[in-house]
Symmetry: C2
Subunit: 448 residues, 2 copies
């Protein structure tokens, strides 16, 4: 939806709310798709939201709550009577309902569960950590191996018309063990009297309930699955992960990687939902660590105090040298970390990567060294300093390219998430070592 | 698949190839899922691949080619007779087939098209740029508005059993104009004699054929669509975008953003597929630009040559000050750029963001300033320098936090992709201005 359209609709809703025309405000809201309703709703003040929510049909309220952050949704339903909340929860997808219920206080949760018509649809989903496959899965009709295609279709026709549409169904044996899958289309195309076990595909990819949600998401993306069944220790089907949840997980994961690469702990929530003290906590750790690393660079400078005093001109190039090293390193580290995340680069490729990045570093180093030489000459700091600067640039670029390629692969080797190797970390490593290279070359060539 | 399993299978295939046991090698390969087949296949040498490909059934070869990069796939099929290639292409999803055909030489393309049984399934897909909705879409059965549910199901039963399963069908009028959608489940549940126009959902989200593929992908993710119809200027249905393609586009987009944030042009391909000279070209532009920015920092140092000569100790803190400014800026810029990409932060939020980041900068600045004060004291550079350093840290952290928040929002305002505002760019801006703050404070407080 366009920003102007959103602003316009927001004004309409607010006008009606000011005139106490609640049903008018609801009408505007209900004319939108649920994702857009959520956008509009989040722009309202908390009192406005609380006034509107009880006016919505349970169905519409459910759609809206599904689109909000779980915490926001829980805060919003806090004042609703348990019976009303139960009506809304019944209209939600089971996985979304479980996420919302998990945020409630214990007594409120018990009250809502006791009001639900079919609490067993949601209750098993409450048991699993939010970031595991179990936390991501939803309830879904399981078909029996000995059903005929006609019986299966009849069972599907019994589903609520507005329950989540999952284009594939999973087949279980008499013990509830997962033993096959078939799509609705296969079912439609099958002879009505065949048994499911004769038409189903017995080779199903599934995940255990405790597996990390990112791993489950990657399986869905890798094998282009329409849905991924989740099983317990004894291979019994306990739920299904759908593609729309996978899209969210993969987006979340990319966000985490990006924030880590920038040198901060992931926020795990939308920008404006994170309180400022929490942001500070998420950022200060890395900043302090890098601070120590940067004082190391200062220590290097201090060790060369006499040389610096003799040739102050050397100091002019310090930002250029540590800047160029840092920039090259950041380019490489972001590329390698992402390639590791996508599986394009693996542990066994380490020597191949070293060879490539050394060669690329050499080419970049020659180009930047040449430019640095000319730049130093135009500053009239003398031919010798120009030579020192350009050789240092060549060496630093190769060095930082190598460090930035090897460190994330080593992290992966030692089972540390490579994305914690941030661009600022590489920059800090390269700063100190780059200056060591610089002053060593300067002593050698200038004889100071 | 585990790395060890892959290595093991690779050895088995190679052994059989060495013994000229082509059918044995094929048997190993065909025992795997297509995504895993592709993994194994890409590990083989080009001659090995060329030897295996003609031995595969067209169906299996099609699955394999779909998983490879388009360019690799095109190079591989280069030697196949057009008739054989046509048999393979017929087994591919129409959108994947079109991507492969688009890589062929013109005369080879013509030869293959003339051998196809139904070239019209693929031909319209060849017309659109690869990164537009048209380039992403595939052909899919369109249902007619005046069909009954029974007729529609009969038409679906006529589809090839192994054609791509899309869980939703789109409905067109007599002119081919898109006028509704319904899922296979709705169709199964409908009374066989109702007309589609009476059961379909007439409110369909669609995109024009020329729209950017990322925008199409974002619509699918935002509205949790099972498939997105693509229409021409006159609203006629021309194709359908499926969720599996959207997963790929969103992953590609996240990769581009990450590479840009690291300060390089996106590679647009898997790491090992990019030639080294191309990598150098993608990286050198930004490096040279940042190089110029870094020499500016040198210019600032040069302007304060006398002050530096008087108090060499000031130079020890240069890496700490520009490092801390750069680190804070990188954290903020990556967070804001990602929040803009996800729509969590919009243009109108600029003042809200400025307020938050100033406050966060103040908190971080006080903490880091305090630590810096202690660190400077322990270096015995005197109380005055310690005071200058800690005040500079406070100012630089707030300043770089602000710059890093505002610049990407301004970029968005001027319709520049915010992800081009990389962490290294912010670092370079903050380096020069940070030193200005440092020396100004030093002159003021030390009286030099």
């Amino acid at each position: 939806m366009l920003q102007t359209t959103l602003d316009d609709l927001l004004t309409q809703v607010r006008l009606r709310l000011e005139e106490d025309d609640l049903s008018g405000a609801v009408a505007v809201l209900e004319s939108l798709r649920s994702a857009d309703q959520a956008d509009l709703f989040t722009e309202l003040e908390e009192e406005e939201q609380a006034a509107l929510l009880p006016q919505l049909t349970p169905d519409n309220a459910a759609d809206l709550l599904e689109e909000l952050d779980d915490e926001d949704a829980a805060r919003l339903v806090d004042g609703l009577p348990p019976a009303n909340l139960a009506r809304i929860v019944e209209e939600m997808e089971p996985d979304e309902a479980a996420d919302l219920l998990a945020e409630l206080e214990e007594d409120q949760l018990a009250a809502v569960l006791s009001e639900l018509e079919d609490p067993d649809e949601v209750r098993p989903l409450l048991l699993h950590p939010e970031d595991s496959a179990g936390g991501l899965m939803t309830s879904h009709l399981a078909l029996r191996r000995r059903m005929t295609a006609a019986e299966a279709l009849a069972a599907i026709r019994q589903l609520e018309p507005d329950s989540e549409e999952i284009p594939v169904f999973f087949v279980v044996d008499q013990y509830g063990k997962l033993c096959g899958e078939l799509s609705l289309r296969q079912l439609v195309m099958a002879d009505p009297n065949t048994l499911l076990r004769d038409v189903m595909n017995p080779d199903v990819i599934s995940v255990p309930v405790g597996v990390d949600q990112e791993e489950a998401a990657r399986l869905v993306a890798r094998y282009d699955l329409a849905a991924l069944p989740v099983v317990d220790d004894e291979d019994r089907l306990v739920g299904v992960i759908t593609v729309d949840d996978v899209l969210d997980v993969l987006a979340e994961e990319a966000t985490e990687d990006i924030q880590r690469l920038g040198g901060a702990q992931p926020l795990d929530q939308a920008y404006f939902n994170v309180s400022m003290p929490l942001i500070v906590r998420k950022r200060i750790g890395w900043l302090l660590f890098l601070f120590v690393a940067d004082t190391l660079t200062g220590t290097v400078l201090r060790a060369y105090e006499d040389e610096l005093a003799t040739a102050v001109a050397l100091s002019f190039f310090i930002p250029l040298i540590i800047g160029t090293g840092g920039n090259t390193g950041s380019q490489t580290v972001t590329t390698i970390v992402r390639a590791l995340a996508l599986g394009e680069v693996r542990l066994r490729d380490v020597f191949h990567v070293i060879w490539r990045e050394s060669a690329v570093g050499l080419m970049l180093g020659i180009l930047l060294g040449a430019v640095g030489f000319v730049r130093a000459l135009t500053w009239h700091t003398g031919l010798e300093i120009a030579l020192v600067v350009s050789l240092t640039l060549l060496a630093v670029v190769i060095w930082s390219n190598l460090i930035a390629a090897v460190v994330p692969i080593l992290a992966e080797r030692f089972r540390i998430d490579p994305s914690v190797v941030s661009a600022p970390l590489i920059t800090s490593i390269v700063d100190a070592t780059g200056l060591l290279i610089y002053f060593s070359l300067a002593k050698l060539l200038l004889g100071i």
